[in-house]
């Protein structure tokens, strides 16, 4: 028979260990850069590793980290969500407004009820925004950029409408509980940090150890192939936008806890920092590449650099410029690296 007469496929190339897995990722060398940066900073400025400064960094970092996890999922599918900042604001506002309303109405059937209802109201709002984005993008085939640019504006507008532009503060019997659960501490750590660890671990499991995660990557890699092999492409896309909006909304609630109120301009322009953090951490805007650890490393890097510039008394206006340069640098390094090994 024919098969016995021929030899093996011969023009094979082995993928070396440094060309694949975590070591091959942008995340790995950005992580390395982060470590170097931290070491340098701790020598350069005695204040850098002080308790007060670290808690300062952690706080700013908590403002964006969970939302960055969410948007990383969207970016892996090859999409983008520009509405995260607005979603943070409207979710925080809805939560806050619901608490105030329940308080005014005197509705408090059991301890904690005001908090639970308010959180559900807030997150439901976020879920609806995410579903609207996902539906428009997956089913109506609109471009993610344009769709979420629209939502950015719509949702921010609604936030101003709902609060008459003034913003709201949580109030009522569960206010203390709300503050404890958003800006309090657990086992010596900021509680938002605990949420982040849990969320990041859940995302890591979902992306690397479930079929759903595989499908998220497959959609980013080759959407048509996903369809041909029976992946529920539309459903997964909608889910990803819903999760992204929920993560952003939850992050918005945490910010309002730290601030003690939900101003209508909360998290304005945060989408840029969040996308930047995701991209610096290795999420590829072309889709198919990214992960939880990268999102976190990206966030820390941005905050450490900002913090370093503050400690070095650099004009704050330079911060934004520098963050932009780092984005370009990270992507450029990745580009050269893939040119070399690709």
């Amino acid at each position: 028979m024919m098969a016995e007469t021929v030899q093996n496929f011969s023009n094979v190339r082995r993928t070396r260990f440094w060309q694949r897995g975590f070591l091959a990722s942008q995340t790995a060398y950005v992580g390395l850069a982060l470590i170097v940066l931290i070491v340098v900073m701790s020598f350069a400025s005695p204040n850098f590793l002080s308790a007060g400064n670290i808690s300062n960094i952690t706080r700013n970092f908590s403002f964006i980290a969970i939302a960055t996890l969410g948007i990383t999922l969207v970016i892996i599918t090859g999409g983008i969500d520009l509405s995260v900042g607005s979603t943070m604001a409207l979710t925080a506002t809805t939560t806050s407004l619901t608490m105030v309303t329940l308080n005014n109405a005197g509705f408090y059937p059991f301890p904690g009820s005001a908090l639970i209802i308010s959180l559900l109201a807030g997150l439901a709002t976020a879920g609806i925004i995410g579903f609207a984005n996902g539906f428009a993008i997956a089913k109506l085939k609109l471009s993610p950029f344009v769709t979420t640019l629209g939502t950015l504006s719509i949702v921010r507008g609604l936030t101003y409408v709902a609060t008459f532009g003034r913003g709201t503060a949580p109030a009522g019997p569960d206010k203390e509980l709300f503050l404890a659960l958003t800006s309090g501490k657990l086992a010596g750590m900021p509680i938002s940090f605990v949420y982040l660890i849990i969320a990041a671990f859940a995302m890591w499991v979902a992306l690397n150890h479930t079929a759903w995660g595989r499908h998220v990557y497959a959609i980013g890699g080759n959407e048509a192939a996903g369809k041909l092999t029976g992946v529920a492409v539309d459903r997964v896309k909608i889910q990803v936008y819903v999760i992204c909006a929920l993560a952003a909304g939850f992050n918005g609630i945490i910010i309002s806890g730290w601030l003690g109120s939900a101003p209508a301009n909360l998290a304005t322009a945060y989408e840029l920092t969040i996308i930047a953090a995701a991209v610096i951490g290795g999420a590829n805007l072309a889709g198919g590449i990214g992960g939880a650890s990268g999102a976190i490393i990206g966030c820390i890097l941005i905050e450490v650099i900002r913090n370093g510039l503050v400690l070095a008394r650099v004009d704050p206006y330079w911060q934004q410029t520098l963050v932009g340069c780092i984005i370009v640098a990270a992507v450029l390094v990745d580009r050269f690296r893939s040119l070399r090994s690709g």
Binding site: F9, R14, R20, R214, H215, G221, T229
Partner: protein, 246 residues
């Protein structure tokens, strides 16, 4: 009894009639070549059988029963596997992830359904060994040669017990030696009782493994005859239209 039967299948894309009342049948374990010029409608025909397109008119039956195949998943459940012309691979995933895409092996951990990485890699490695391909299960598809990619797409069809495998130009981008490997595989499929529809522009391939050849021209079937009763010259004439019908 015929395994697959198409009766007057028609497919319109707006004003374009890609398939015009095409009828044929495939017996179990039969290897049939499907030939035709670019745009003749071969891929469209494959996509109708594999559930990506729905016919505009006509009937398809599989295993003796009328089949309305609405998705690639449904086709697979019936026992129809496909190697698509563009291979349909996700570059950013490993070979094994691509092979198992959409039908991953999982285990239950409480409420979670987690991937069985080890089992999938082992099975993929087995499939590559069967294909005599040196492709490694945990290599990224992005870094693979054309032949390796083709091996991945073909390995995917061997995952379950298919009764019919559709191959849309499986030998288009690979070396002579690899072509022989794929043809060898097709022979083994026949020995296992699996029917194959082989689309190819390469006359020697079709004449090496197929028992029958169907020729399409501009959406219409113009010939359907045993390989023994035809010649490469005749088939070429049919494809180009030098010969109207045979």
């Amino acid at each position: 009894m015929a395994l697959l039967e198409l009766h007057n299948v028609r497919k319109d894309f707006g004003a374009i009639r890609a398939l015009n009342d095409v009828s044929f049948s495939i017996e179990p374990g039969e290897i049939v070549g499907l030939m035709g010029d670019n745009g003749a409608g071969k891929s469209t025909l494959v996509k109708i059988i594999s559930g990506i397109y729905q016919p505009s008119a006509g009937d398809v039956s599989f295993g003796g029963e009328a089949a309305h195949i609405h998705s690639p998943g449904e086709a697979r459940r019936l026992g129809i596997e496909t190697v698509y012309q563009d291979l349909a691979l996700a570059d950013n995933l490993t070979a094994s992830a691509n092979i198992f895409l959409g039908r991953e092996l999982k285990y239950n951990l409480g409420p979670l359904r987690l991937l069985r990485h080890r089992a999938m890699n082992a099975r993929a490695a087995e499939l590559f060994a069967e294909l005599k391909s040196e492709t490694r299960a945990d290599d990224l598809v992005r870094l693979m040669s054309g032949g390796q990619r083709q091996a991945v797409a073909i390995a995917r069809t061997r995952l379950s017990d298919a009764r019919l495998i559709l191959m849309d130009e499986p030998t288009a981008a690979i070396s002579v030696r690899q072509v022989a490997e794929v043809l060898g595989l097709i022979n083994r499929l026949r020995d296992a009782g699996i029917a194959v529809i082989l689309i190819s522009h390469r006359m020697p391939d079709v004449f090496a493994v197929c028992e029958r050849v169907i020729v399409m021209r501009r959406g219409t079937k113009v010939a359907d005859k045993p390989i023994a009763n035809t010649s490469p010259e005749e088939v070429t004439a049919l494809i180009t239209g030098a010969l109207e019908v045979a």
